[in-house]
């Protein structure tokens, strides 16, 4: 259906009307600002570079919603958030400024706990109970999956406690990396075993 003339005119018209990158950046910034002011920025996100690779950070108006490792595939994670939480998802670095700052301090060894509003809606039931107990394991310490199951009120639910850690929507911030196997080996980790080792080494626990 496209005639050669069509293509030619399209290129011709696109020339003088072509928006530059600077213009698009300005318009995007204005959109994020207007969306936030209108209460339409349901999920804002950015990514940061860390010693454990690029981390995706996403937050609702209530608080930090998701931290994701590169191995989880950031595009896939954003698509999941769009489906589960709201499709009104925009890159909005300013919303994540405080989170990025605290993570920078943590990776520089200057911060041992996080002081951030969290939105835990991606976790529910027993898993959420387990996540709620994780911050009781202090910086530089570790605990076993069995101990976490007991702390969450179900000593026999060791596998469920392990799966709560494996599906933690807020790794690093909610310290599932401090939960290891009873025999002292690291066990699995959502960011991969190398990332778990890096975090525990940073904290002086490994």
């Amino acid at each position: 259906m496209t005639q050669p003339d069509d293509i030619e005119m399209t290129q011709l018209l696109a020339g003088p009307a072509a928006p530059g990158e600077e213009t698009m950046r300005r318009l995007r910034a204005r959109l994020v600002h207007d969306a936030d002011a209108a209460g339409l920025l349901d999920v804002g996100y950015r990514s940061i570079d860390t010693p454990v690779g690029a981390l995706l950070l996403a937050a609702t108006g209530q608080g930090l919603l998701r931290v994701a490792y590169a191995v989880e595939d950031h595009d896939r994670v954003l698509a999941q958030l769009a489906t589960k939480v709201s499709p009104r998802v925009l890159r909005a670095p300013a919303r994540l400024d405080a989170v990025a700052r605290e993570l920078d301090e943590y990776f520089a060894g200057r911060r041992t706990s996080f002081d951030l509003p969290l939105d835990l809606r991606l976790s529910s039931g027993f898993r959420r109970e387990v996540l709620a107990k994780l911050p009781t394991i202090g910086y530089g310490s570790t605990a076993s999956y069995a101990a976490m199951a007991a702390a969450a009120g179900h000593p026999k639910a060791v596998r469920a406690a392990a799966s709560a850690c494996a599906t933690n929507p807020l790794p690093v911030i909610v310290p599932c990396h401090r939960v290891i196997k009873s025999d002292g080996t690291f066990g699995g980790y959502v960011g991969g075993e190398a990332a778990k080792r890096t975090l525990l080494t940073l904290e002086g626990a490994a």
């Binding site: 399209t10 003088p16 009307a17 072509a18 698009m24 959109l31 769009a82």
Partner: protein
Amino acid sequence: MEREPFEKIVDRYGPTVLRVCRAVVGPAAAEDAWSETFLSALQAYPGLRPGSNIEAWLVTIAHRKAIDQGRAQARRAVPAGDLPERPGRDGIPEASDLDLWAAVKALPLKQRECVAYHYLAGLPYTEIAGIVGGTPDAARRAASDGIAALRQVYPGPRQETGHREPARERGAQS
């Protein structure tokens, strides 16, 4: 049913919608029109039926915003000097871009809309008729009249009409 993050919609269609806004309401009002279009689209996005033609949906919103905001400005005489970005790419001489841009502005609104929605947004005339009103044939005629007027200003780089001399002469410098 998976939903795409709105960010992807901005990535994919943002530049095209801005081109359409510039052609329809002019560069001065285009950024306001774009901003209102995407804010309005963000609000409505969760209710958009899956499988919808997103580009047509955005152009429809942009069209309504242009009616709301742009027409009063567009009706006033628009001074020609107010160009958006640096023109002149792909070997098209800049002077012709200026002429072409001025010619787009000089088109009657309906022709401008139909040219922009078809040639910049790539929408079929059936969709365009739904947006601007009237029949697909009328939309096609308006676009083709608009293109004919633009061709008077800029005949295009086609070989058979390539009667211009190249701007640069080879071997001019020693």
